[in-house]
Amino acid sequence: MASKAKAVEKKEKVGISAWWKTELRKAKRSKFLLLLMLPGFVYYIIFHYVPMGGLLIAFKDFKPALGILKSPWAESFGFEHFIRFLQTPDMLNYVWNTIALSLLNIVWLFPLSIILALFINEMRSMKMKKIVQTISYLPHFVSVAAIAGMITLFLSSQGTLASAGSYANEGILNQLLLKIGVIDQGIAFLDNPAYFRTIYIASDVWQGIGWSAIVYIAALSGVDQELYEAATLDGATRVQKMWHISVQVIRPTIVILLVMQIGKIMSLGSDKALLLQRETTYEKSQILSTYIYSLGIGKGEFDYSSAVGLFNAGINVILVLIANFISKKMTETSLF
């Protein structure tokens, strides 16, 4: 850290032109490295930076016939769309729905995947370990569309009464609940906003628990077995060893991943929410990305949806910078 700070100081002292000269000298020396980066660089310019000019649309009153550049600027010094978004009555609701889903994901998926990793690590049979691992990340490969299809099927309900002889119109979950007598009438889970988050997060966990656990399992597999044996000789129980050795080993990993997750809170994708949401659950299921999607594609309001997206991206930058800063402080590793 210290040497880096010095380097920065030095650079500032000698000025831009000198810095330019050093970089050029380096370029002459490492032509190969520069060459290696060229294709990737060209990719970024063409497919990211050229279209990024299109973000201008967020400040324009976009008229397709005129194109992006010739369209007139939006009112309020180009900020009309931003103002409109901030004045949307349900704006805070969308933001909150987004944050709530992200946070719930962290609250559930994080501890559960850690527990899974610890449990797998404690298994004695190597063969079983492998089988459990392989099966547990299978769901990660199932596409979101397929998952949404399954959820619809499993959670459906006509509202059959428990007293009815046949529960054929209930999804498998309702059938189960009716049979064991937990509910006296089938519940149409997907049509009820009260269940939306639970469904969303539960399916996240189903799909992601094995996948997220891989990192921890890998970290745990690197632990020196002697540590455990020494602890055993000291009379530690297995639970104690799990806590004092295993958990401590993966702590840095947990911290970094947690910080990174927090940085991504606002960038929740629209795919799954779009497939799971119904008009009846908008209250809970409308998140920023689905709102942008429905305006941009559904209504063709590209200028407005682009402004909302830009607004979202701005918040994301701030969040990630903060998360990155914390990560750097706590673990000396960072995203960049």
Binding site: F32, L35, L36, L38, P39, V42, F62, K63, P64, A65, G67, T88, P89, D90, S156, S157, Q158, G159, T160, L161, S163, A164, G165, S166, A168, N169, Q185, G186, I187, A188, L190, D191, N192, P193, R278, E279, T280, T281, Y282, E283, Q286, S294, L295, I297, G298, K299, G300, E301, F302
Partner: protein, 560 residues
């Protein structure tokens, strides 16, 4: 070595990326003069399709050759699945890459693009249309002027070609006749009677759910909307003109009638008469409702009764019988009973981009083709293909060469079309298996195609019967229907309308579920006022003002 390979790949990718492909999907088609000195116009044709139809890969087929020979036009097709249509077409228009010809849109799409000056007008006035496309106008008969007024944009010009609908009235209540007969029940005429009938049914079948539908919210509730004096498409139209009260209702779903409807439906739900998934159910799951007798009443298409009966009598069950009824339910018998008369036309297009105006004669050339397609000759061509190749005439009746065709397709008898033709005729009816064959063999998209005879037998006659039956009740039983009204928005009003309507619809649907199934009680004043104040928060009052203003202005301008 590896490095070289990597570099090679990189270089290859860059070169390939510039060489691959062959330009945009929709660069406006160029016109040229062929060897014979004829002017040939080329169009990019955004055609929406369904199902698995395969089309000839090149333009060397009967249909495209006919277009070339007879009309001097060439179509380059971009065939888009219905499910992807919205995304793709919106992107085309947003990037100023609109195809010369677009089909598959909704009227709001076309009017929106027209306001953005991206479409070329088909006609400047009704008279202009009559002059330009006489055969097309003839299709609609007396209703053409009304159709024109409804479909025209705010500047009075028509920016797309509506298509004639064959279905005049196709939705009604369906019920399990076997069960009703068994209990000596008649289908109810009022909401009170409806509750009573449900009570009797529930007494006999305490474990069954009585009312379901596969139409999802928009059409599942249609029967109930009408029972409370609102038109069937109220969720998408928002406003309507009440012919009985002779007043314009600017936002129906916030009126006392809407509240009464919610209270009624809430009662149906609380008594366990109503399917909990009625707002989101799909056809497949509705079939399982039928299979287990968990649906006895549904608001649906008249011709679906047979299918539902089949779905009911599965796994050894017998005797189930779904039957349509021409009895509609009303909450206000003194005022009358609403039934659904279908709109006069469908709004799938085609529409023509301004690129068609860029060259002299380009628009006219393609309009000439569409006008020909509306003639009896054109219709037969699009339905049967070519005389001698896929069909022949017997006593002035069309007979398809493939005997399988005849069973499925309509006929032309004594030089007259028996089937009145052209349902949503503008777009491809590929899903009709026989149409698929023609499309595959000859490349003819069955635009303007005659409806298959099978269609007529399965559906058309039922639709016609239902329509006649409803219409006769308008004279005897105080039945009435609610017609669409022309609303002409300016460009600025249009975008305000879209914004407000979207925001309102989101709120409305959210409360709809809560009122019928959830934590809000529509009968409770506090809950209802909360709904109204939430709706006001997202612009209900602005919307009402806008609609009233546009309505009055449009009426005034049409009155002139």
């Amino acid at each position: 070595m590896k490095k070289k390979n990597l570099l090679k790949i990189g270089a290859f990718v860059l070169v390939a990326s510039t060489l691959a492909g062959c330009g945009g999907i929709n660069p406006p088609g160029k016109s040229y003069t062929d060897e014979d000195g004829r002017k040939i116009y080329t169009y990019n044709y955004n055609m929406y399709i369904q199902g698995d139809t395969t089309y000839p890969e090149t333009n060397d087929n009967e249909f495209d050759n006919m277009l070339y020979d007879d009309f001097g036009i060439v179509f380059n097709y971009d065939r888009i699945a219905r499910t992807d249509w919205e995304t793709k077409t919106n992107t085309y228009f947003a990037t100023n890459d609109a195809p010369d010809i677009t089909t598959g849109g909704k009227e709001t799409n076309y009017k929106g693009w027209a306001n953005q000056q991206m479409l070329a007008p088909v006609a400047d006035s009704y008279e202009d249309l009559c002059e330009k496309m006489p055969n097309y106008v003839k299709l609609f008969g007396d209703s053409m002027e009304e159709v024109y007024n409804l479909a025209a944009s705010s500047d009075g010009k028509l920016y797309y070609l509506p298509s004639l609908r064959q279905e005049k009235a196709q939705m009604c209540w369906l019920y399990r006749k076997d069960i009703f007969d068994d209990l000596g029940l008649e289908f109810p005429e009022t909401t009170d009677e409806f509750l009573e009938v449900c009570r009797v049914l529930k007494e006999k079948y305490p474990d069954k759910i009585l009312i379901s539908s596969n139409g999802q919210k928009t059409s599942s509730l249609t029967g109930f909307f009408q029972a409370f004096g609102m038109p069937e498409l109220i969720l998408s139209r928002n406003s309507f003109y009440d012919p009985k009260d002779e007043e314009f209702v600017a936002y129906a779903m916030a009126t006392d009638d809407a509240r009464d409807m919610y209270i009624f439906m809430r009662e149906l739900n609380d008594l366990n008469y109503l399917d909990k998934e009625i707002l989101s159910l799909e056809t497949d799951r509705f079939s399982s409702r039928c299979a287990t007798d968990n649906a006895m009443i549904t608001y649906n298409y008249v011709y679906n009764a047979e299918g539902f009966t089949t779905k009911t009598n599965v796994n050894g069950k017998e005797g189930g019988l779904w039957s349509p009824t021409d009895t509609m339910i009303t909450a206000h018998p003194e005022k009358g009973t609403v039934f659904k008369k279908d709109p006069l036309y469908s709004d799938y297009g085609p529409a023509f981009s301004t690129s068609c105006e860029s060259e002299e004669g380009k628009l006219d050339a393609v309009l000439k083709y569409f006008d020909w397609a509306a003639t009896p000759e054109g219709q037969v061509y699009h339905t049967y293909g070519v005389e001698g190749e896929s069909f022949h005439y017997e006593d002035a009746s069309t007979v398809a060469d493939d005997p399988g065709y005849e069973e499925n397709w309509g006929v032309m008898k004594d030089g007259k079309l028996v089937v009145p033709v052209v349902n949503d005729g503008w777009y491809d009816m590929a899903n009709n298996t026989k149409g698929t064959k023609i499309a595959e063999a000859l490349g003819i998209p069955s635009m303007f195609g005659k409806q298959p005879k099978k269609f007529w037998e399965d559906r058309g006659s039922k639709i016609e019967d239902l329509y006649q039956s409803f219409m006769s009740k308008t004279e005897t039983d105080n039945y009435y229907y609610i017609e669409d009204i022309p609303m002409r928005y300016t460009s600025e009003e249009e975008s305000r309308y879209t914004d407000l309507a979207t925001a309102l619809a989101t709120k409305r649907d959210e409360y709809m579920a809560r009122f019928i199934f959830g934590d809000m009680d529509p009968a409770d004043d506090n809950d209802w006022n909360q709904y109204i104040s939430d709706m006001n928060r997202v612009g209900l009052q602005d919307f009402v003002d806008l609609q009233n203003e546009v309505f009055e202005r449009t009426q005034a301008s049409l009155g002139e």
